[in-house]
């Protein structure tokens, strides 16, 4: 087969996908802010996204904080500035690792679940049934999921930040011989509000992307159980890539001098 035809076709397919996602995003955002609102469904999503993600986020943050402290201790040891460990740990966690790792974990859990649920509703004609009952699926299914995830992720990340810093603290005081009160003082003294806030802004954007990808792939799935499986995989992969790409862009926007 002609190589130009193959390249051309996949490029056109790529453009079509971008277009579809753009239209879907526009509709999703519009229906998130235009009444009627389904508060009951919003609350249900907040619980299922937020509350049930707490263990996952807490555990990953704890281990990440501990490992980070150990590695930074080794690295700073090479140039003799081990006293910088608490500052670098809290800086790294609030700005980067907290939002990114928590969001990737939530992406695995939540966008997969959303794609599977909405995808099953699509292939079993439940979305068609919603429409015939004069209910807009964007308002009923998609808006509550997107809003809930974007609202809840900053809270999860904040909790993850605290637990991550604690992980670093335990590692440093129990195994690396840091003095407890000096470690805490260094953590707090050099922390700026902007470090935390920028991480939370990132979290809100990542939450939006997670739910958007879960809903998009679920909503457009076809081809029965196999199609739903494909939608689930695509949702997690695309959400994860978008999180990392958006992280780069937001960091450049906020911190490039």
């Amino acid at each position: 087969m002609n190589i130009f035809a193959i390249v051309g076709r996949s490029f056109l397919g790529f453009l079509a996908t971008i277009g579809n996602i753009a239209v879907f995003t526009g509709k999703a955002v519009f229906h998130t802010f235009a009444p009627p609102f389904y508060f009951r469904l919003l609350w249900r999503q907040i619980v299922s996204v937020g509350y049930y993600s707490l263990p996952v986020v807490g555990l990953t943050a704890l281990f990440t904080g501990a490992v980070l402290a150990r590695q930074i201790y080794i690295g700073t040891g090479r140039i003799g500035i081990e006293s910088a460990v608490p500052t670098i740990v809290v800086f790294g966690i609030t700005r980067e690792l907290g939002p990114v790792i928590a969001s990737l974990m939530v992406a695995g859990r939540v966008s997969a679940a959303m794609a599977a649920e909405i995808g099953t509703m699509r292939v079993s004609e439940q979305i068609d049934a919603l429409q015939t009952l004069a209910t807009n699926p964007f308002k009923y299914l998609i808006a509550p999921r997107i809003l809930a995830t974007a609202l809840v992720l900053p809270v999860l990340v904040f909790i993850g930040d605290v637990i991550g810093v604690m992980g670093g603290y335990f590692m440093s005081t129990e195994l690396l011989g840091f003095n407890s009160s000096a470690y805490l003082r260094n953590t707090i003294d050099f922390l700026e509000v902007a470090d935390v806030i920028s991480g939370l802004v990132k979290a809100a954007v990542f939450g939006f992307l997670i739910a958007l990808m879960g809903c998009y792939h679920g909503y457009r799935s076809d081809g029965g159980a196999q199609g739903v499986g494909r939608a689930t995989t695509n949702a997690v992969v695309s959400a994860s890539i978008l999180i990392l790409a958006a992280n780069y862009i937001i960091t450049e926007l906020l911190f490039a001098q």
Partner: protein
């Protein structure tokens, strides 16, 4: 007589999926208060036709009028208002599996704000009684029901808002003959009592004879025969005859692909 506007009127409705031409310039009229049954072999596009009328699928060409108003390319808002007057039973029931039965049945009433959540359970029980289900199913999930019970809940959901147009996609498939007859009775009753206009798709000839005022047969993307139900036995149409008597040999080929080659 020509002054009566059809409740639903299809003209030249065409729909294809890729190379697969499913509806080919299809024409169909349904008069107010009529019970029309569409028959036809599997995969001839009966469900696709229903979905085009409801706006769940966009037809490629043609015109679909309801009460004389064009519905193709209608705004979302107008479509929503139109769908409030419609009930639909899906072929696979399509119950919301995240909601209990009572919420499924009263979904349309709740979303229109006609009733409060407080009263919904009792109202659901009343509607379920009409399709022969006891109040104990109210709190079950759709996944806990048998296929036939799901169909009845789907039917209850379709009639709950007392809509003026009701679409039934194979209402009796998968039911025992007694329940099937109850469902047929119920459809007749809806038409008689509420003056609803109904469009039913079925393969079940007992059902056709019981509920139809008019019968239309879909084949090769077109309506190839239409007429009052009492004429189906002397139509002289060999397609219709073959279908009614369920014979394997005749002009209709069971395999749609070989059908297209000939």
């Amino acid at each position: 007589m020509s002054t009566i506007i059809p409740k639903i009127s299809l003209r030249g409705v065409t729909k294809s999926f890729g190379d697969n031409l499913v509806l080919d310039k299809l024409d169909l009229d349904i008069m107010p208060g009529d019970s029309v049954v569409v028959i036809g072999g599997s995969g001839t596009g009966k469900s696709v036709m229903l979905k085009c009328i409801l706006g769940l699928l966009d037809a490629d060409a043609g015109s679909i009028k309801i009460d004389g108003v064009e519905t193709m390319g209608m705004s979302t808002r107008d479509r929503e208002a139109l769908l409030r007057r419609v009930g639909m039973l899906f072929q696979g029931s399509a119950l919301f599996d995240s909601l209990p039965v009572w919420e499924n049945v009263t979904f349309g009433l709740l979303s229109a704000g006609t009733i409060s959540r407080k009263d919904a359970w009792g109202i659901a029980a009343t509607i379920l009684a009409k399709v022969g289900l006891g109040r104990q199913v109210c709190d079950l999930r759709p996944s806990e029901l048998s296929g036939g019970m799901q169909k009845r809940v789907g039917l209850a959901r379709a009639i709950a808002t007392s809509p003026e147009m009701i679409f039934f996609d194979e209402p009796t498939t998968g039911l025992d003959p007694i329940t099937a007859d109850t469902i047929n009775e119920l459809i007749v009753e809806r038409v008689r009592d509420l003056g609803a206009t109904t469009l039913t798709i079925t393969h079940d000839m007992a059902s056709v004879r019981k509920i139809a005022d008019h019968v239309s047969m879909l084949h090769d993307g077109k309506i190839i025969w239409s007429g009052p139900v009492d004429q189906i036995d002397q139509s002289g149409n060999e397609y219709l005859e073959q279908f009614i008597h369920g014979r394997a040999d005749g002009p209709i080929n069971a395999d749609p692909n070989t059908d297209k080659i000939t």
